[in-house]
């Protein structure tokens, strides 16, 4: 299984990857993307099983990436990992086709709960 982690912060990508390991997903391949446009390209080239994406990023935001993926016919499972966890943002995320939204700061337990239905 392969997980694509998209965040414009290298530090946050490291924290997300570390938390994935803590949540028990340490045997998955991890691919990193530094913004939404990079993530969109790597969805095609790397064919991940799950995309974990920040919302606010330069070049292309996370939700723009998700909308572009769905418009191109990609049904890859997609979840947000973002500092904005308001009900309004959760509704926007769900409407665009995201499976979940993990709000920063997060714990390994939150990752387990969100990812288990997708990755098992």
């Amino acid at each position: 299984m392969k997980i694509l982690v998209a965040d414009d912060s290298r530090v946050m990508r490291q924290i997300v990857i570390r938390t994935l390991r803590q949540a028990g997903y340490d045997d998955h391949d991890i691919v990193e993307a530094e913004d939404g446009a990079d993530a969109l390209a790597k969805v095609s080239s790397e064919k991940p099983d799950l995309v974990l994406s920040d919302w606010n990023m330069p070049n292309m935001t996370g939700i723009e990436c998700l909308q572009a993926m769905r418009a191109s016919g990609s049904a890859v499972p997609f979840g947000f990992v973002t500092s904005e966890g308001s009900p309004e943002m959760r509704e926007k995320a769900a409407s665009a086709g995201a499976l979940f939204l993990i709000a920063k700061p997060f714990t390994a337990e939150v990752f387990s709960d969100a990812l288990a239905p997708v990755l098992g």
Binding site: R10, I15, T107
Partner: protein
Amino acid sequence: MTDSVIDPVDTGERRRRADAAPVITDLIDEATIQSIAEEAWQALVGEEEFLVPLPGDAPDDAVSSWVEIVGPWNGAVVLTVARSTAEELARCLLKEHAPPVLDDEDVEDAMGELANVVGGNVKAVLPGPSVLGLPEIGAAPAAGSPADTCRVDLLWRGQTLTITARGAAGAPHDPSELDPHENEVPL
């Protein structure tokens, strides 16, 4: 004959107050900001990391990171620490991935993410809809009115950490709420 319903002393003040943009102190308090910061620190910096609500010495070489919020309330959430504290925070966030010598990009990235997480959670408490900006680093944005500033002075590992939610300079406010005194410590 009925009494007149026209208030002879209606100056429009009540309507102007209702129309005035909200100030941050009406929307969030210091305890909430501290609670948001403590949660961010324990999740990102380390489980055993605590913030003590005490003012420290103002750093000579302050580094600020912030995110702007645009919506019913306009302003920024700003984190300010000494340069050495910023480097220590970056090492904590990077953990085993921290290089022997940190470069500026790592420190700015770490400080920006801390501002992003604290600011994003402050935004969630404020009335919406609002838009959160991307993290910025450097000299903090100009302070707005003291009445539109919520400041929290904390110590992390004995080092000064100041978090302010500050209205954008020039944002419209009810002039009667302005504090004539300036902030003594520029951040």
